[in-house]
């Protein structure tokens, strides 16, 4: 990170620590999560999906039922509250699929904060609906045309904005990436997912899951889901990355499966890069997974052998997108479809170790038009 941001990062670390110890902050956040976001989200026993996968007890943690349609709002509401405490009235964010941008714009509308969202030009095109949603919520969407024109470059541009306007501005990072304290702070704000799910499955099944599955781009829904289960040694944690056109093709976003350690956006983690240390372009059908880095704590869990990371291709994710829609009446986000695809192909193998818990991180409404286009149905919007 540039020297200019050091003071802001230090101040943020202190403010965050104070907020976690402040019962008033906690109760305000809790109230908003309950009454505005709609938590707790249900844990749903997906029997038809389980039949198809060859496992009788597959459970979906329904983060798609949150207000704004994904887990992202757990973090943005909390960070916006924190920004308000810090006296910062201007909020910036990066977004890939647009879900984090929408969740940030929503929190800013709620707290009457100025909101600017950086979004790669390619994603602006892929996720036109979310661009309009952000604008409806009063945010300004700034398309980013540099580099690969996706999430990585939107993040670069957000950091440049922050360096320039650091005194007035808080940067709401959308994933467990970036410099400290962001990875642990975003993890903590998302860890409500796993805490609820752990309680819920104990209630329904009377036991812990054998396997917990979540998709991984930057890795915030996975980190939020895994965190409560990390001490439960018998619970296998599986992160599913985007293999894009296939890991062998080089067109993918599987940093943990195929990357090497490197530094991007202020943290040391697995990174897609070439032999000269230049960051390689990521590829995924899902804009939210289209990121060449990954949260540093995922790298830690991988190296420590506590979590396993695997990857599924665009085609497998698309097939799972359709399958879940037909089998359960739930249209999943393309990001979450990666986790579903993994359960469909590997679920039977998890039968002996107990229930499978899957984080359904978002709903697929935002992807419907794009999938229709990819599948040759033309423009339906």
């Amino acid at each position: 990170m540039p020297e200019t941001l050091i003071r802001a990062l230090d101040e943020l670390g202190v403010a965050y620590e104070r907020a976690t110890l402040d019962p008033e902050f906690q109760s305000e956040l809790q109230g908003l999560l309950t009454h505005f976001v709609g938590r707790a989200t249900p844990l749903y026993h997906a029997k038809r999906l389980g039949d198809e996968a060859g496992h009788p007890s597959v459970y979906l943690k329904r983060e798609d039922l949150n207000h704004t349609g994904a887990h992202k709002i757990n973090n943005t509401i909390a960070q916006a509250l924190l920004a308000r405490r810090m006296g910062k009235r201007r909020i910036i964010a990066e977004t890939g699929a647009g879900q984090h941008g929408v969740a940030t714009a929503t929190a800013c509308a709620l707290f009457d904060l100025e909101c600017i969202v950086y979004m790669g030009e390619e994603d602006v095109d892929r996720q036109a609906l979310n661009v309009y949603r952000m604008e409806l919520l009063g945010a300004e969407v700034r398309p980013v045309s540099s580099g690969t024109r996706t999430l990585k470059d939107a993040t670069n541009e957000a950091i440049r904005d922050w360096v320039t306007n650091v005194d007035s501005t808080h940067y709401i990072i959308g994933s467990v990436v970036g410099p400290d304290p962001f990875p642990r702070m975003v993890r903590d704000f998302q860890s409500v997912i796993g805490r609820e799910a752990r309680e819920q499955i104990l209630q329904v099944e009377g036991r812990l899951p054998g396997t917990v599955v979540a998709c991984v781009g930057g890795g915030s829904n996975a980190m939020g889901m895994f965190h409560a289960f990390v001490p439960d040694e018998g619970v296998a944690l599986v992160g599913v990355e985007a293999a894009g056109s296939g890991i062998d093709t080089g067109e993918h976003s599987a940093s943990l499966s195929a990357g090497r350690p490197g530094v991007l956006h202020g943290s040391l983690s697995y990174l897609l890069q070439d032999d000269d240390g230049q960051v390689s372009p990521a590829h995924s059908i899902s804009a939210g997974l289209d990121y060449p880095g990954v949260g540093p704590e995922h790298s830690y869990l991988k190296d420590a052998g506590r979590a396993r990371y695997t990857a599924v291709t665009d085609d497998e994710a698309l097939a799972a997108f359709h399958k879940l829609s037909l089998l359960e009446g739930i249209i999943p986000a393309l990001e979450s479809s990666h986790a579903i695809a993994h359960v469909l192909s590997e679920g039977a193998g998890y039968r002996d170790s107990g229930p499978v818990l899957v984080c359904l991180s978002g709903r697929g409404d935002k992807d419907v038009a794009y999938v229709a286009r990819v599948e040759g149905r033309g423009s339906i919007l």
Partner: protein, 261 residues
């Protein structure tokens, strides 16, 4: 070597002129001719950028030069080869200016060894602020390369001394919050800020970020020990070529040496 260059200017009552250029820009073979032209036009120390795919501390001009340079096929190794060629015939100190990841991939100790071998004199890593990675920092500090430290307007007083301690060569004061890029006006508080930094550190202080005219260079020269010019120079280099860039640099030198009106 680097602080000597500053000292030599100061002995004459002048400030040092420190141009920044991106290696491999505007063309793959441009690096050595550009370095030679800058040295001839009055550069006291040259900052040579090793391009990175994600230059998040840089504004549009240096971003573009970095992307173009990478498309031209520039690599860490090719930049070091260019430095060696330049060094064979010129004494002007060279600071390698880059981001951390290309150095990590190359291997920091191998990089330091090869950079010293090539004749580089200093290293500035934009995204490795003081205290971020003590092991890496001490590798540079323990090497013949000067570790050029950055101080920003947001750097707190208590941190100034810490930043200065591990640094050598000179201190680079970032004249405003923001990314690199030419500015039409310098901040009015600049004089006061530079004075505060100079009080806290014993190394020469160069001021950069936003210097783009002879008049601005003159103003900064009267406040600080050195003037860094980057984006304005890189833009001229890209738009009008090497000799125009050298003329521009010479005009800054003239602006710096002119008595205040």
């Amino acid at each position: 070597m680097i602080s000597e260059a500053f000292r030599a200017r100061r002995a004459e009552g002048q400030a040092a002129l420190v141009p920044y250029v991106t290696a491999g820009y505007p063309g793959r073979d441009a690096t050595v001719p550009v370095l030679e032209a800058l040295a001839a036009a009055g550069a006291d120390v040259i900052e040579l950028g090793i391009p990175f795919s994600d230059p998040l501390a840089d504004g549009p001009t240096i971003q573009k030069s970095s992307f173009d340079s990478l498309s031209n096929g520039t690599t860490v190794a090719s930049v070091l080869r260019d430095v060696a060629v330049f060094r064979a015939a010129h004494a002007t100190p060279v600071v390698l200016f880059t981001y951390l990841n290309p150095l990590l991939r190359y291997g920091l100790s191998a990089f330091i060894e090869d950079a010293v071998q090539a004749g580089a004199n200093g290293l500035l890593v934009t995204d490795l602020p003081t205290g971020a990675d003590l092991a890496l920092e001490s590798q540079v500090v323990g090497s013949p390369l000067d570790l050029i430290r950055l101080i920003a307007p947001t750097t707190e007083q208590a941190r100034l001394t810490q930043v200065a301690q591990g640094g050598s060569g000179f201190i680079y004061y970032i004249s405003r919050t923001g990314v690199t890029g030419a500015q039409s006006e310098l901040r009015s508080s600049l004089a006061e800020e530079v004075r505060a930094v100079k009080t806290a550190v014993s190394l020469p202080v160069a001021v950069g970020f936003g210097v783009s005219t002879p008049a601005q260079a003159g103003t900064v020269a009267r406040l600080a020990d050195g003037v860094v010019v980057g984006s304005a120079l890189v833009r001229i280099l890209g738009d009008a070529g090497i000799s125009a860039a050298a003329d521009f640099l010479a005009s800054l030198r003239a602006g710096m040496d002119q008595a205040p009106e």
